[in-house]
Amino acid sequence: MKIALESFEKFDPQHLPEFEPLAPGHRACQGCGEVLALRLAAKALGREMMVISATGCMEIISSAYPQTAWRVPWLHVAFENTAAVASGVEAALRIMKEKGKIARDDIPILAVAGDGGTADIGLQALSGALERGHNFIYLCLDNEAYMNTGIQRSSLTPYGAATTTSPPGKLSMGESHFKKDMPAIAVAHKIPYVATVNPAFYLDLMNKVKKASLIKGPAYIHAFSPCPTGWRHEGRYAVKIARLAVQTRVFPLYEVINGKYFLNRKISKPKPVREYLKLQRRFAHLTEEDIEIIQENVNNEYDRLLRLSQAVDLESKLTTSFQEYIDQLKLQMDEAYQKLRAEFQHT
């Protein structure tokens, strides 16, 4: 796997591939950050890949028969079983190649689902597919609520957000739980690759998807996906909000390779979360105290990630110093040996 990553050629912003597996002309809302993330992910994989889609916005906007926006093989079955379907596709390609029925089994399989389809109703199927070790990429397009059915809260809806089923009221300040840590759940399956991506950092997104396709085994990619309709912001702010999510440390960009955390973008001077929240009307009802709670949670989560990534640094330092120690020891032993030998010859 290490070799695959070292020899991995990154995308060049001046020479991005022209082929768009997800064609323009689909029915996504203006300013949709989710379709942007999906388009970039698909673009990173190119013509030779297959997409397995959950029920949701991305399915309905791209596939209404007799039209389709997909220029690559695409399969939609149901809401909660995307990972299971993808695992069936992968198993089929592998055994049919083994039996000489098809020529290739190295075709990337991109399984796509939203936050509800991943963290709620599809969690079991995802867990099963990750545990079985299928060679596929699972892309969670997280727009933080059930947008396709009309902005109902999911377990990935952030603290304080107003949705149609977590409305603020006399007794409510909106969503009262913090987001489930979905990447950590994926990491707990001890899969080779987990990453977070954000369409505002498009090269990082495309490179991570490409990298995921080169790694053998399951890869889980969690994509920040602004939803103007559900988050109640102007369409033109989608990328700005996506960028702010990283700059405020609300959505840190990191990779977990074989269980080791790498913080890809250290934000040393973070902007206050208020700047991220104020552009979205789903947070408009929050009080100063609420925002304080969110800021504190963001700080804690970032610190945790930082410590996890520093653990990797520390480990490598330890490894290095241990090696140095061994080398020194060898040198000393060598010297002692030479000395003894000289003495022996002398006598």
């Binding site: 299971a84 089929a92 079991q124």
Partner: protein, 393 residues
Amino acid sequence: MPTRTPMEVSIAVAKAVQQADVDVIAAYPITPQTHIVEHLSELVANGELQAHFMNVESEHSAISAMVGAAAAGASTFTATSSQGLALMHEILFIAASLRLPIVMVVANRALSGPISIWNDHSDIMAERDIGWIQVFCETGQEAYDAILHAFRVVRDPNVVLPMVVNIDGFNLTHVIEPIYLFEQEELGDYLPEHRQSLKLDIDHPITMGPVGIPEVYTEAKKQVEDALINSKQVILAAWQEFGRRFGRAYAPIETYRVEDAQILLMTMGVISRTAMGAVDRLRDAGKPVGLIRCRLWRPFPLPEFREAVRQASIIAVIDRHISLGAHSGPVGQEVRSALYTLPNRPQVFDFVLGLGGRDVTVHDFLEIVELAEQYATQGPPESEYTLIGLREV
């Protein structure tokens, strides 16, 4: 000649799946289908079947993985029972709509609640409208043969639909019976290679499972219905060809001692054997009683059924499922509606028995015939169906 070996029916079923050279098997443990997939996993583990055996985390994922594998062009098999089939429910319709040639054994078992691991037909009767071809088996030999038929039928380019082979849980799956197993060479080209024209293929990209807007949904449904109805001729041809080659002929509606029968018992599955015992006794006593057994349940063989009952005056339909809140069991409803438009139709009485593994005996059938005669002469019962063997509680 093939050898006749005493074996558990589940093992014979697994053997047929092996002979069909499937590519992907997904399974989740549920009694009483387990012996089938356990044996298949052994065959794979020993290199006797080159297939990918997926230990999935639920039946929902089993059927979902089968859909994915079949969409990628693989030959697929799974087996389930009862709650497992119920958990698959939503995906079953989609598998038919996507026209995927999946073969599944349902080892029929009662649905909860109360929870019961024992045999009846309530699991599959809740899935009548899924768009899959559905057959019921009476013996182990038939179960083995039915798997071979199934793979031939679903691989036919004029069918390309999924198929359920119903095998009564325990009462058939766990029975040890002498079964003729073919040598692979004997089967010859009876089983065609699995070739699928429409599948996930990077050289010919297609969109599978798109949104059906109101302008197309009706037509899409009608296409599945047409495919299912049209599959009958392929199924009949597969059975005829099997009879020609191997000497065992099968029909959508089987009959037993129906010559001049005034009263017909109608059964499905393994209890038909017991019903034959009752028919023999009644015939010996001079009563004009015969038996018809429905093997092909979906698509329902309407003309064959009408022909089979043409001369009878009474049909006693046996249901192994209670259709709560309806006026009779599902087979009873089916039979009544199949006959309603005919100018001269027999009287139909519906009997529900053998629920949740309750023993079905020859005496039950004797009682049913007696009751049916009584209803015919003295007027129908208060309820449109009769529950046999109900104890006072």
